[in-house]
């Protein structure tokens, strides 16, 4: 049983508290979905349960949290670790070891368990979760879904009674979400108490018994899944929540009227001997917004890297407006807005940032473009001090000023709530007909809001392209 008793918390450097006077009781074996907008306090609640607040993220705390009789708020983290297991959002940053087997053993080793016991636990977990093909591998070579499986396995090996998952699907494709769902269902069947903070809701419909929505650091509602499912999508959207039911067969928005096209020729690429991409020819309407979909490892990122001219050995070309562009010219014509946009902000102010690499003829347009992208008040700010959406827009502004014709977005909505996802969709829509936009995404809601075409890549081949 988890008891949160009148807890308020304010982060050390924050002006405002992130949660105010929250009280909750979660009985043994219950599976709870925590939802709500970004910054509404759901991550704070998960951190209260696993003890990272107040022991790692410091701040001012009132009240206390009791998990299965242990006072998490006053106990050391390694005591809590025996009772509460945690899975996080970012597969890149939740591994301590480099190979999978050591990672499964990591938690048990920390507890000082005898070797034989650890090995038998690893055997049991690999069998339960069907991950024996992943054993003994380098974690850096696994896909996002496989990494998340190892993260779950590593927590499972510790056999905690409570599981806390903080936005576990942010970086996963649909298949990987299905597999995660199976894992969570197994945990549920074995009687564990589970708390999941999440933006994507549909996969939790059959898992969670109870839904708690946070808003501005308080509980907005607390109801059963049955009641929650009875709400209309509009009611859910009013709380900043994404749909609970995903429509089968995503359709792109149909209103695209451009007639000119560009041709991708000979998009073939191999890493060593493994063929990663094989698209002999593809016509793309200029000015369209193309969703690039497919499972992890299907060749989407290779496609992106080739299109942006980042693969030096890539021999394919793009023909547009009568010109045939090779890798080197593509580097000048294309721009990728990366999933972690922090990788591409270099300067000290937004203004400098967007002017870096600018075509000098556009010098007069800086203010106009900043205004178009709602950045006019931020010209003097440091790009790293902006919010995620603002950073994304800064990157777009710099691409516009550098006269890039093709923009490519890599998972622009991963980990975004409903409102921010809609904003991104609007932003992408505003680029329609001005630039040709490719969006690599797993987000059906984004596609149905702004994309004019869908390109599906499987095993390195373009299996479908339709509007």
């Amino acid at each position: 049983m988890i008891e949160i008793k009148n807890v308020s918390f304010r982060h050390e450097n924050a002006d405002e508290g992130s949660i105010h006077d929250i009280s909750l009781t979660i009985p043994d074996g219950q599976c709870v979905l925590l939802c709500g907008e970004s910054g509404s306090g759901k991550t704070t609640v998960t951190r209260l349960i696993n003890g990272l607040i107040p022991h790692y993220y410091e701040g001012e705390i009132q009240g206390e949290v009791i998990a299965n009789g242990l006072n998490v708020t006053s106990s050391e983290l390694y005591e809590t670790a025996k009772i509460v297991g945690s899975v996080f959002q970012n597969p890149r940053s939740q591994f301590f070891c480099v190979d999978t087997t050591s990672e499964l053993a990591f938690g048990c080793e920390n507890m000082g368990m005898p070797e034989a016991e650890i090995l038998s636990r690893i055997d049991r977990v690999t069998e339960e979760m069907n991950i024996s093909p992943l054993m003994g591998r380098n974690i850096f070579e696994l896909s996002g879904g496989e990494k998340q499986k190892i993260a779950c396995g590593s927590v499972s090996a510790l056999q905690p009674e409570i599981m806390v998952l903080d936005e576990p699907t942010s970086n996963l494709d649909l298949n990987a979400i299905e597999e995660l769902k199976e894992t969570v269902l197994k945990w549920k069947a074995s009687g564990k108490t589970i708390v999941i903070a999440e933006h994507r809701l549909y996969w939790l419909r059959e898992i969670c018994d109870r839904v708690i929505c946070t808003q501005n650091g308080r509980i907005a509602f607390d109801m059963t899944m049955t009641d929650f499912a009875a709400l209309t999508e509009e009611e859910r959207a009013a709380y900043g929540l994404r749909p609970l039911f995903n429509e089968k067969g995503v359709r792109p928005v149909g209103n695209f009227s451009g007639t000119k096209t560009m041709t991708l020729n000979n998009f073939n690429f191999s890493y060593d001997k493994d063929e990663a991409l094989n698209i002999p020819k593809l016509e793309i309407p200029i000015g369209s917004i193309v969703a690039v979909t497919g499972n992890n490892g299907a060749g989407k990122s290779t496609f992106s890297r080739c299109l942006c001219g980042l693969e030096k050995k890539f021999k394919g070309t793009v023909t547009m407006n009568g010109e045939t562009l090779k890798s080197k010219q593509l580097l000048k014509k294309c721009y990728m807005v990366m999933q972690d946009v922090n990788h591409q902000l270099f300067c000290e102010t937004v203004e400098e940032e967007v002017q870096l690499g600018m075509n000098d003829e556009n010098a007069g347009d800086v203010q106009k473009i900043l205004a178009e992208l709602d950045l006019d008040g931020f010209a003097e700010r440091h790009p790293m001090s902006l919010s995620g959406g603002q950073k994304q827009r800064t990157a777009i502004a710099s691409a516009m000023l550098a006269d890039k014709e093709i923009l490519l977005f890599d998972e622009p909505t991963s980990g975004l709530d409903f409102r921010h996802m809609e904003q991104t969709a609007e932003l992408l829509s505003s680029l329609k007909s001005k630039k040709t936009v490719f969006v690599v995404t797993h987000d059906p809601e984004l596609i149905s809001r702004c994309c004019t075409h869908i390109l599906r890549i499987e095993n390195g081949r373009a299996t479908e392209f339709y509007s």
């Binding site: 670790a81 301590f96 050591s102 053993a105 938690g107 721009y335 591409q344 270099f346």
Partner: protein, 244 residues
């Protein structure tokens, strides 16, 4: 090389040595080849000594590294011993300087390369535990090794971003290459480091009990052979000192 620091794949790496044996051999390289300690008899043996990293690299199927090493070493060593005495003046010093430095440093560098490219972090941690080092040293070190591939990954993404912005050697913003790289790299590494620590703490790192380790390391026949060979120069050195 950078990406392979302590990231060895567990299968397919040929002769498996205990990390402690490798460390001992690295130490020997530093003392006797790089530091040229041990007197004349030991120094006469150095070429033989330098063959060790080559043998080990071949056994680990690192063909390219091994062959490059052998060729470079033979070249620089023969320069040093054959052409060195034949030349005079400035040329003599330049030749001696270059080939001498290369011949001395190369074997140790290769030995170090062999150590990091054929050991995993877990093995290294296990070895440190068996050497009774404090966890205060082991944990930061293993975090550091864990961090190398992350830093290289991040740097690769940043590099790609810079190329799309036209920042490259010879481009018009070439002056900023270092600065532009450092800011995002620091930001990303700090963020990942923070999340990494949080994840590790929720799995009980830092508790009061002594950590166990499932990694199976220990001295085997091949370790004993290599250690015996590595002991030879010490024996000769001691014999020299006592005057036999």
């Amino acid at each position: 090389m950078g990406r392979s620091i302590l990231q060895a794949s567990v299968t397919d790496r040929g002769l498996v040595l205990d990390p402690r044996t490798k460390l001992f051999m690295l130490l020997n390289m530093a003392i006797f080849v790089l530091g040229s300690a041990g007197g004349e008899r030991v120094q006469a043996l150095t070429p033989l000594f330098c063959a060790m990293p080559a043998v080990l690299l071949f056994s680990a199927r690192k063909w390219k590294t091994a062959i490059t090493f052998v060729i470079l070493f033979i070249l620089s060593y023969s320069m040093y011993t054959i052409f060195g005495p034949m030349t005079t003046g400035a040329l003599h010093y330049i030749l001696l300087g270059c080939s001498g430095i290369l011949a001395r440093f190369l074997p140790s560098i290769m030995m170090g390369g062999y150590l990091v490219s054929t050991t995993t972090v877990s093995e290294f941690t296990a070895a440190m535990l068996k050497m009774k080092l404090s966890e205060k040293i082991i944990i930061p070190l293993s975090v550091m090794f864990r961090f190398f591939p992350t830093v290289f990954d991040e740097a690769a993404s940043i590099n790609a971003a810079m190329r799309m912005r036209g920042i490259h050697l010879g481009g018009r913003n070439a002056g900023g290459i270092l600065e532009y790289r450092m800011v995002p790299l620091m930001t990303c590494c700090v963020k990942i480091g923070e999340e990494l620590s949080a994840a590790a703490l929720t799995r009980g790192l830092g508790g009061e009990v002594r950590r166990t380790n499932i990694c199976n390391i220990g001295f085997k026949v091949q370790d004993i052979i290599f250690i015996m060979i590595s002991l030879v120069p010490y024996v000769l050195w001691i014999l020299d000192i006592v005057g036999i």
